[in-house]
Every structure is written in structure tokens, then in C-alpha cells.
């Protein structure tokens, strides 16, 4: 994908905290107009990635461009065009929601109080309430409402769904969908709520041990990662293709997951006495099948044959 078509482009972005490699040569492409879900286990580097984009963390090596701006050299320009919501971000607790919005409005050259009030009114948050008196879900919604006040072209939601009750989570998703309706806006969302991310994301990236292990449209991921089940009662077990993961060999049944499925792949596995079944996987299944072998193996994550 050309850099022009991307809201975020990183090149070998690397961040080391002491001995820990938080990001390991991440070259990500987040297409404009997409809702991109960055997934990964705890400690995979998701938040460090987001903080690099906002220049809150300095990369050790590599570079990142957001909406065409270098995040280190043009950090002010980036901040003007990006909205950011993080889980449990500290807010000025003593402020009312209205004061918080007014304070943030002062930080930007343009501001749409209409957009902010639109969300607050829809979800029933009284702007006269103090932030400290809001529930966890309401805080997340208030933070989201204020984060879109300057009508950002890119919205970064870092674990913004984490720990929310189902109703607040739906309201956050609904607001993200409304925000997206504006032409060309991009959303990067990190987290572990896979079912929610599967609803709204059209792109996914898997970050494992600081490495971008997979990146593609969600539909491509689902088309390429399949579980193959072969029943072979009374016949010899099939040869398991190289690169298959989660291989389970039984006397009469063999199963494994492939990351490069095509209809031609199953043919050579069939034969007399063998029955081949290609099983579709949910995003959660895919995540577990791809991530688990990496997490249990020592050393850095190894990328699949083709990404």
C-alpha cells in the first residue's frame, strides 16, 4: 500500500526500555479510512506503539509518520490532527465535564462543541457532573466525546473498551462508528475485546513480544488462516505441511492450523480413506492459534511465511 493511502506508517520502529525490547522493528501500515484493530497479549507493546505515535515515548530506532508528519519532528502538527483516549487515563477529577471540554477546546485552533455535546447528550452524561462522580463507563465516554472535539483525522483508542460494562462498550462502539462516518477518518483501536473488535475493525495487526506478527484486512486473515481436520480411520496419516501450527496428531485424526490457505492446499491431503474438512475460525480462535505457539516458545516471535 502506498504511503499516501495510509494514516500511519512506521518503519522498523523499535523501542527498548532497559533490557526489555518493547517494540521490535515494527513496520505497520494503517490505511486511511480504516478501523484498525491492534491486538496482542498483555505486554506485547500495544500501548508503547500508540505512545510513540504521540511522541510521548521516543523511539530507540526507526521512524513513524502520522498523516504524513514525522511524529518526532512534527509532533505538534500530529497532535492537532489526532484524538487520543487511553484506559484509566488521569483526568482532572475536580473539573466538571463542561470545564474539561472547555479546557481541551483551548488547546486546539478549531473545536466543535456540537460534536462533543452530541455524544454526551446521546449517552445521557450531564455536563455539570464532576469527572470524579462519573462511573467508569461514563468516564470513558466523556473522554471519547472530548477527544473528538477538535475533529481529528485519526482517533487512537488505547484499551478504551477494556473493563467497560456491555452497555458502555456498545456506546463507545456506536460513537466510534458515528465518528468514522466522516470521510477518510481513521481509527486505531488496541485491546483484547476480540468480539467487539471483530465487529468494527476492517484491518487487524497482531503484536506479539513487540513484533508485528501479522497485518492484513480482517477478511484476508479469515480467508487465509484455517483449521484443517483430516479423518483417516484405517489409512496412513497425511503429511502435515511445513509452517502449520497447533498440530494435533492422533491415530485416526490429524488437525492443524495453516496461515496460507487456498482451495488447492487441501487436495493433496485427501486420498483413499481420508476425509478432509476445512474449518473456518473466529478471530478469537485465530488469535489463540497464532499467538500461543509464539508465547510458549523462547526468543522473539517468528513471523509466518508470508505476511
Amino acid at each position: 500500500m502506498s504511503e499516501n493511502g495510509c494514516a500511519i506508517v512506521t518503519e522498523s520502529l523499535t523501542k527498548r526500555f532497559g533490557r526489555k525490547l518493547a517494540l521490535d522493528q515494527v513496520s505497520a501500515r494503517v490505511p486511511r479510512g480504516s478501523i484498525y484493530g491492534l491486538m496482542g497479549p498483555n505486554g506485547a507493546g500495544k500501548t508503547t506503539f500508540v505512545r510513540c505515535l504521540l511522541n510521548l515515548v521516543n523511539p530507540t530506532r526507526g521512524s513513524a509518520r502520522v498523516l504524513g508528519h514525522d511524529v518526532v519532528r512534527d509532533s505538534v502538527a500530529v497532535r492537532q490532527r489526532v484524538g487520543h483516549v487511553a484506559a484509566l487515563q488521569p483526568l482532572w477529577e475536580w473539573m466538571t465535564v463542561r470545564q474539561f471540554a472547555e479546557f481541551m477546546a483551548g488547546c486546539y485552533p478549531r473545536w466543535s462543541q456540537e460534536a462533543v455535546s452530541g455524544i454526551l447528550t446521546r449517552v445521557g452524561i450531564d455536563q455539570g457532573d464532576r469527572l470524579q462522580d462519573l462511573s467508569r463507563g461514563q468516564r470513558a465516554l466523556a473522554a471519547l466525546a472530548v477527544a473528538i472535539g477538535h475533529e481529528p483525522d485519526l482517533l487512537l483508542l488505547d484499551e478504551a473498551l477494556t473493563g467497560l460494562d456491555p452497555i458502555s462498550r456498545r456506546e463507545v462502539l456506536r460513537s466510534v462508528i458515528d465518528v468514522m462516518h466522516a470521510e477518510g477518518r481513521t481509527v486505531l483501536i488496541t485491546g483484547q475485546d476480540i468480539a467487539a473488535m471483530e465487529r468494527i475493525c476492517d484491518y487487524v495487526g497482531f503484536l506479539i513480544k513487540g513484533r508485528l506478527f501479522w497485518e492484513s484486512p480482517l477478511d484476508d486473515l479469515k480467508a487465509r488462516v484455517k483449521r484443517i481436520r483430516i479423518e483417516h480411520p484405517g489409512a496412513a496419516p497425511p503429511e502435515v505441511p511445513a509452517g502449520a501450527t497447533k498440530v494435533e496428531r492422533g491415530a485416526r485424526e490429524t488437525q492443524f492450523t495453516v496461515t496460507d490457505y487456498s482451495p488447492g492446499l487441501a487436495e493433496p491431503l485427501a486420498g483413499p480413506g481420508r476425509r478432509v474438512e476445512v474449518v473456518d475460525l473466529s478471530l478469537e480462535d485465530i488469535f489463540v492459534d497464532l499467538a500461543q505457539p509464539q508465547l510458549t516458545a523462547a526468543g522473539p516471535a517468528a513471523a509466518p511465511a508470508q505476511v
Binding site: 468514522m180 475493525c201 477478511d219 476425509r275 475460525l281 473466529s282
Partner: protein
């Protein structure tokens, strides 16, 4: 009008919505001239990516099931009722395809398979469709 979708299903969300509309046309619950929600409404209602909603409409329009009237919205097309019959057959054929695979895998004879199917068709007040 739309059932909720199941994001945990291995069937892509795009397919799930597409199938619901096709099924509605086949069953007659969606008739020519019926207006569908806008892309934005559909996305908000089902909590899905607006790009996905837009793609469903675009592809069904290409297939002739939907038509978009400029500035007015998206409607079930006039041709849809003519397509209902073929949609019904297509949906059944898809299901039977799966069954046929199992029949071959278990090496059941054609006569046995057809007899089973006939028995099921003729059973009155049988079990409800589990799907």
C-alpha cells in the same frame, strides 16, 4: 428488520448481513420497494464497521437485489421478486451441498441418502430447524 449479527461466528460479518437480506427476499419478508436503513443507520444499529455495511449494499446492488435512488436511499429492487424463486433454490442448494459432502465422506449410497431426505421431508411436526 435485521437480526443481530454474531461477531464470534467464523462466518464473516459481511456474509452474515448479506445472507439475512437474501433470505428476507427469498422468504418474502423483504419486498420490492421496501426501504433499507442507510449505511450509517445500519452500521450504528448492528454496531459494525460502516465500510462493511457499504460493501454489502454495493455488492447486492451489483447483483440486482438492491437499488439506490440518488438522495433518497436504498431499496429492494423491482427485479427482486423475480429473483426470490432462484434465491430460495440457491439457499437450499447451499445447505444440501454440505449434506452431500457428508454423504460422500460416510460412503452412504445415493438411494439411502435420498430415502433419508424423503423421510425427513414427509415427517409432519418434526423437529424445528436448529440453525
Amino acid at each position: 428488520m435485521f437480526n443481530s449479527i454474531n461477531p464470534k461466528s467464523a462466518v464473516p460479518i459481511y456474509r452474515q448481513i448479506m445472507d439475512q437480506i437474501r433470505r428476507g427476499v427469498a422468504a418474502g419478508t423483504l419486498a420490492p420497494g421496501d426501504q433499507l436503513p442507510s449505511v450509517r443507520e445500519l452500521a450504528a444499529q448492528l454496531l459494525i464497521n460502516p465500510n462493511t455495511a457499504a460493501r454489502v449494499y454495493r455488492d447486492l446492488e451489483r447483483d440486482g437485489l438492491l437499488e439506490t435512488r440518488r438522495g433518497q436511499g436504498t431499496y429492494i429492487s423491482a427485479d427482486a421478486s423475480a429473483m426470490a424463486e432462484s434465491e430460495r433454490k440457491r439457499i437450499i442448494a447451499e445447505r444440501l451441498e454440505e449434506v452431500a459432502r457428508e454423504v460422500r465422506a460416510f460412503a452412504l449410497s445415493e438411494e439411502e441418502a435420498l430415502r433419508l431426505f424423503r423421510d425427513i421431508l414427509n415427517r409432519r411436526g418434526g423437529r424445528k430447524d436448529q440453525r
